[in-house]
């Protein structure tokens, strides 16, 4: 895929990221306090962010496969984001929940938080990379000791 990508691939990813990050800033999700306010039932605004965003993507996921077979910049078929269910979804989701509830920060919002000048958020980013490394190291070792390849997810 890399090497002969469409010249507009990277610019489009960048523009998409710009809008995505602007939205996270505008929605105040880049502020851990606002997320914690939601989790502590002081302000339910986060529901509008998540479901508002999901409705917009939902419309695109429903329409695009009908109006076009493949994406213009990649030739990739329009599909939905469907991941296989196993107990990792529950275990990982619960671990993520502990972290989200403790810090009020999730990955996308953490990057955006850096953009709004919240350099204290680097603590969270260092933590996220450390956490991702710990699980990656552990799963790599486990995959190496098993002969069957792990499912792609």
């Amino acid at each position: 895929m890399s090497g002969n990508r469409h010249p507009l691939f990277m610019p489009l990813i960048f523009v998409g990221g710009l809008i995505f990050g602007f939205g996270l800033g505008f929605s105040h999700m880049a502020r851990p306090e606002v997320v914690l306010d939601f989790l502590q039932f002081d302000d339910f605004g986060l529901l509008f962010v998540m479901f508002g965003a999901a409705i917009v993507t939902g419309i695109a996921f429903a329409i695009m496969p009908r109006v076009g077979d493949r994406a213009p910049l990649t030739g990739r078929a329009y599909g939905r984001r469907l991941k296989s269910f196993d107990r990792n979804v529950l275990i990982g989701g619960a671990i993520f929940g502990v972290g989200w509830g403790l810090s009020g920060i999730c990955p996308g919002a953490a990057y955006a938080s850096l953009g709004i000048g919240n350099f204290t958020i680097l603590w969270a980013l260092v933590g996220m990379f450390a956490g991702a490394y710990i699980q990656g190291y552990w799963r790599s070792q486990r995959a190496a000791s098993e002969t069957t390849p792990a499912g792609a997810d």
């Binding site: 990221g17 710009l18 914690l36 989790l39 508002g52 917009v56 993507t57 329009y78 956490g131 991702a132």
Partner: protein, 163 residues
Amino acid sequence: MFTELVPLALTAELFPNGIFRYAVGGLLVGLGAVVIYMGTGIPAGASTFLESTLSYVSDQSRFQQYRSSRDWRIVFTLGIILGAAVYAVFWQGGTWTTDVQPWRLLLGGVFVGIGTRIGKGCTSGHGVCGVGSASKTSIVGVMTFLLVAIVTAQLVQAMGVSP
């Protein structure tokens, strides 16, 4: 008169900051994901960036499987940072810093880093693109982390930790 005021007061209680910023911000978050999806067919999430970027510095097989997407995920993340910076400059009126204590951010970050990768997605991958896909896996994932996060945040608050 009174019956008109009740729903209004309830709304103010549930949404002390109104809903405009949340609704408009959410629609834009969705729009950002849609722009990428329409051009590339990729339903993007924000947490894979952690593992794909680690592939530059680690030879572990778990990270190497994300080599093919690691460059555009960096561009996506730079876009997110810059988009939020545009908001900060033109709407927020300068920088803003959190009062949440560093130990909470660091420790919470570690849990987020482990959990989001084992659980196959985060608030954008599962919460926005997955729910938008009506994916049962993502809906269960979102319910799981929402519930646990609420319990965690309430416990932390009950223990008197603030902010």
